[in-house]
């Protein structure tokens, strides 16, 4: 008879057991490569004893998530990803600017470019990630300039991220506009469009397609291409001669973070040279923002960077207008 009445107690014990002893974990929105995010978890635990939990979302998705949760944020900190969404998040009051102790040791040009909106984490430039096997098989030359992408011989051999869903895609769009002026840029895009096999949802996906040989040329961040090449894919990273745009990857403190204290500890920790050096070990070859962090030898170095105007192209109005134009004038074109 007695045993019949034991089960609720068992349930209570089971239910109560995990509660209590734990410290509040830090919840991170993580936008760079998954491996980087994954590498942070044990390192942070070792350094601080705190648990780090993350969800990997591309920067556009991460912004969407922050907006959705504006009333009651679940995340404490947003790590990595293209700068524009970080800037928009700051302007919309989703994140707050936190000046880390190491602020003055960050690369000054990056600091200057973003102002006091978010913390620069790394810098990475747009490049062409080229599958040389596919090109050789077809006897095609490597593309050297943005205008080469419009060459008819590359028909259906191109992949680039969709600017609607990917920060990388928007950076490419903005780069072209800054290089050629808006109207000429769209003319060029309409010709490139015919060669595009696929606009991908995420920024790193074109390199995947190129790596697997689904396309020959991927337009995306060069450092991702290097990573894939090191994994064994027959890839090569090139930079357009006209100059190229770049991103300043961000690190932001979420406004109203449930664990603000933990988030700040994370930010301070993540900016240390040792932690920044972690990225190269797991195949992320951006140029780190801390001046003392060694630049990984594999990191691609573009010869010619444009003067990317983050302030103009980071505003929602400009973004909205360019995207609308892209959706109206480029996407419907037949291929």
């Amino acid at each position: 008879m007695g045993s019949r009445y034991l089960w609720p107690w068992l349930l209570v014990l089971l239910g109560l057991a995990p509660v209590g002893a734990q410290q509040k974990p830090v919840n991170m929105l993580c936008s760079p490569d998954l491996a980087w995010c994954e590498a942070l978890v044990p390192a942070f635990k070792q350094a601080t004893g705190l648990d780090l939990r993350f969800v990997r979302l591309s920067s556009g998705e991460a912004l969407a998530r922050l907006r959705a949760e504006a009333q009651r944020p679940q995340f404490d900190v947003w790590f990595g990803g293209t700068g524009d969404p970080h800037m928009i998040a700051f302007r919309e009051g989703l994140t707050e600017f936190y000046k880390p102790r190491s602020w003055n040791q960050l690369r000054p040009e990056l600091r200057a470019a973003v102002g006091e909106t978010y913390i620069p984490l790394y810098m990475g430039a747009i490049g062409f990630v080229v599958n040389h096997q596919v090109l050789e098989r077809r006897g095609l030359p490597e593309p050297k300039r943005w205008t080469d992408l419009a060459d008819d011989r590359y028909r259906r051999l191109l992949a680039m991220p969709d600017p609607n869903t990917s920060g990388t895609g928007y950076t490419i769009l903005a780069t072209l506009v800054q290089l050629y002026g808006e109207d000429r840029a769209f003319q060029l895009l309409s010709r490139i469009h015919r060669n595009v096999a696929q606009y991908t949802r995420s920024g790193a996906a074109p390199g995947q397609l190129a790596g697997r040989g689904d396309v020959a040329i991927a337009v995306q961040f060069a450092h991702d291409g290097v990573k894939f090449a090191l994994e064994g894919y027959p890839l090569k990273v090139l930079f357009p001669l006209e100059g190229t745009g770049y991103e300043i990857g961000g690190l932001s403190l979420v406004k109203g973070a449930p664990n603000r204290e933990g988030a700040i500890r994370f930010i301070e920790w993540a900016l240390t040279p040792e932690v920044q050096a972690l990225a190269a070990k797991v195949g992320s070859f951006q140029i780190p923002s801390h001046t003392k962090t060694p630049v990984p030898p594999q990191a691609p170095r573009p010869a010619n960077l444009i003067r990317y105007d983050f302030n103009t192209f980071g505003t929602p109005e400009v973004r909205e207008r360019l995207l609308n134009r892209f959706n109206k004038e480029i996407l419907p074109l037949p291929r």
Binding site: Y5, P8, G15, A64
Partner: protein, 712 residues
């Protein structure tokens, strides 16, 4: 007029009053942006106090007086308190005001308890449970849908309809006029309809025009609507035809190994995440695919786009069609064919004049189900869709990529309308009964031998399909063991080592979540089935319709509904494991209900009546007679809910949060990011474990496949 004698604990609803008091005393969250939901000692205390009060109420008046009754009341009190504490703890997960939820539910329970207690037919406890179940169903099925609809801003609909991502018919950049072409096809359709429908020309004209326009739209238009229609329009007939062929093959005089292979292979896509086939197709048929590149030396990229999605969906949904049609073929009376044969009809004539007309309802059912599946499919278009838009993925992209809840809900509503249209057609053509035809009593049906030519063709097609399916799953398994698929086929265990670190915790979490979801799904399903079948309840039909609603809703629409409904206060649930569990539970609860109804059909009413006349209370009857007899049904529901929970993507992709990532979502991310090796490991582990789970319970679940058959 004899007054109804109040039964139950007492005539006074004092537990109810107490509950209401506790509820009112809670420090409810006021205003937006407060630091957190109300919890803390007040709510906890209230919940506990209520648990105690309830236990007291339940045991008062029920225990026969005697020396031991005091002890039993005490035990009851402890039990009630324990349960209250457990409930509170269960709900403490980060977000929801635990006391609020617990006390609200308990108050509802108490209300039902009291109301049922004052009528003699219903057991108070059952009544209380019914109220709680109804409240939960209301909250988690129609409410998110309502929020989704409410989000839709009517003023923006014209712009959204005109958006090229939704529908682009007249492309200004092409020389041809797509609208004219579509209209022409519509005209042809109208003409055909007019000629085909003798007698009811007007109807024929209308249906023909509508179908023709839809076809024209699908062929010439761009954007999510035409693409989804195109894919569904190709996949459904193909899958239905293949399904029919396989079903006929199974029940003809095919060699026994065909049957075994057929059943095994048909189950595989049903119990694996739906987009694994898409992933495998890339491995086999992509530009560097093993078949297309290494074997055939082709250099093509046709897989990304509608073609690839169609291929993946045909492979994935043929089993669904097969399972549905199988039920119909099973019920074919063999003697009818024999009668036709003795009347001198040749095999082909028998097939055409007897078999085919009998099969038609099953075919229509399978057709519409595959249309539904194809429309709401999320994973395959996401992976293989190329840069075409699809309704189900646009819901997701609009919400997470462009963060536009209005647009997301617009796509969700369009999808929902299409699904309702399909259900409406099904209802009109087949009537309600057709939904529930899957009886699963294997009889000596099956229609007998096929015409010789047909049999050979079917066997050939099936072999091809079997080789393809096996090859695809096999390539996933192999892919998990090679360094870099397509380039470096040296053997490695590196991906498995990675999996141990990165994938295993997520996989285990998924197991946990799926199991957490499966138990309440099966229990709630059984309970609702019992209430719907055996209890008098006003509004029973509405309740039934509501459970079906969640079943019809495309997963992405439901997912967005959940995010929109349960992120703002007071239902702050997003990001918790609880919401994942809830989403799964209420998504799969119709399955549980169906399993329960099927099980209850086997339990004769007189058994319950006998138990009642022997002095057992309704609850005791339920526990001692009904539940034990329903155990196989419960188990079937449990396994099925578990499998569906493990493989669910579309409804949870919005809901995963930090620390509760699910395997399917991670897998989708890995595939998207090109981590093919890891993705292959995860797929292999998932498929193997689900196969193992199903096989383990197979002897107990002979009817599982039939139930699977009826599901969109």
């Amino acid at each position: 007029m004899p007054a109804p004698r109040p039964l139950g604990p007492t005539g006074l609803p004092w537990p109810l009053l107490l509950a209401l008091l506790a509820w009112g005393l809670l420090p409810w969250e006021r205003g937006a942006g407060a630091s957190g939901p109300a919890s803390g000692p007040w709510a906890l205390g209230g919940g506990l106090a209520f648990g105690l009060a309830l236990a007291l109420a339940l045991f008062q008046g029920r225990v026969p007086p005697g020396p031991r009754s005091l002890g039993r009341v005490g035990v009851g009190l402890l039990q009630g308190a324990g349960l209250g504490l457990f409930l509170v703890d269960l709900l403490t997960a980060e977000a929801v005001g635990p006391g609020q939820a617990a006390v609200t539910l308990l108050a509802l329970f108490s209300l039902g308890h009291w109301l049922a207690g004052s009528t003699p037919t219903r057991d108070p406890l059952l009544g209380g449970l019914t109220w709680v179940a109804v409240a939960l169903v209301l909250l988690f099925i129609p409410y998110p849908l309502w929020v989704l609809l409410r989000t839709l801003d009517l003023g923006r609909i014209p712009a959204l309809l005109a958006d090229g991502r939704f529908l682009l018919l007249e492309n200004p950049y092409t020389p041809a006029s797509e609208a004219a072409l579509a209209l022409a096809v519509g005209g042809v359709g109208a003409l055909v309809g007019l000629l085909a429908a003798r007698g009811r020309r007007f109807l024929g004209l209308g249906v023909g025009l509508a179908l023709g326009l839809a076809v024209g739209l699908a062929l010439f238009g761009r954007g999510a609507l035409p693409t989804s229609l195109l894919v569904a329009g190709v996949v459904a007939p193909l899958a239905t035809l293949l399904g029919l062929g396989f079903a006929l093959l199974e029940y003809s005089q095919a060699p026994p190994w065909t049957r075994a292979l057929l059943r095994g292979l048909a189950l595989l896509p049903l119990i694996s995440p739906p987009f694994i086939l898409a992933f495998a197709l890339i491995l086999a048929f992509g530009r560097n695919g093993f078949v297309t590149h290494h074997l055939l030396g082709l250099d093509q990229n046709l897989l990304y786009g509608p073609l690839g999605v169609i291929l993946a969906q045909v492979l994935a949904f043929t089993p669904v069609a097969y399972m549905v049609i199988r039920g119909t073929v099973q019920n074919l009376e063999h003697s009818l064919m024999e009668a036709a044969a003795t009347l001198g009809a040749r095999p082909w004539r028998v097939f055409r004049t007897v078999t085919w007309p009998l099969l038609r309802p099953g075919l229509a059912n399978a057709f519409l189900l595959t249309v539904l599946e194809s429309l709401s499919d999320f994973g395959n278009p996401l992976i293989l869709g190329g840069d075409r838009q699809y309704l189900a993925t646009e819901v997701f992209v609009a919400f997470t990529g462009r963060y536009d809840p209005v647009e997301a809900s617009f796509y969700g509503v369009v999808l929902l309308l299409l699904v309702f249209l399909v259900f409406f057609l099904q209802y009109r053509w087949l009537g309600r009964a057709a939904f529930i035809t899957a009886t699963g009593r294997p009889s000596r049906g099956g229609g007998g031998p096929l015409p010789p030519g047909l049999g050979a063709v079917l066997a050939g097609v099936f072999l091809l399909w079997a080789v393809l399916t096996l090859g695809l799953y096999g390539s996933v398994a192999v892919g998990s063991l090679v360094k870099l698929w397509g380039f470096d086929y040296t053997f490695t265990l590196r991906h498995y080592q990675d999996f141990l670190v990165l994938g295993l915790p997520v996989f285990l979490n998924t197991l946990k979540v799926a199991f957490y979801a499966a138990v309440p799904t099966a229990l709630l399903g059984l309970f609702l089935a019992y209430v719907l079948q055996r209890q008098e309840l006003p509004g029973k039909r509405v309740l039934e319709a509501m459970t079906l609603l969640s079943f019809a809703m495309p997963g992405t629409a439901m997912g967005v509904g959940y995010v929109l409904a349960f992120n703002p206060s007071p239902w702050v649930l997003t990001g918790t494991t609880l919401i994942l569990v809830l989403a799964l539970v209420f998504r799969e609860v119709p399955v549980g209900v169906r399993a329960g109804v099927a099980g209850l059909a086997q339990v004769d009413r007189s058994l319950e009546e006998a138990s009642a006349t022997l002095g057992a209370s309704p609850l005791r009857t339920l526990a001692r007679v009904v539940l034990p007899l329903l155990f196989p049904a419960f188990l079937a529901g449990l396994v099925f809910a578990f499998v569906r929970g493990m493989t669910a993507v579309s409804q949870v992709v919005f809901l995963v949060g930090p620390g509760n990532l699910l395997a399917t979502v991670l897998l989708l991310g890995w595939v998207e990011q090109g981590q093919m090796g890891r993705a292959a490991v995860m797929s292999t582990v998932m498929v193997l474990s689900l196969v193992a789970a199903t096989l383990l319970l197979w002897p107990l679940n002979r009817r599982l496949d039939v139930r699977l058959g009826g599901l969109p």
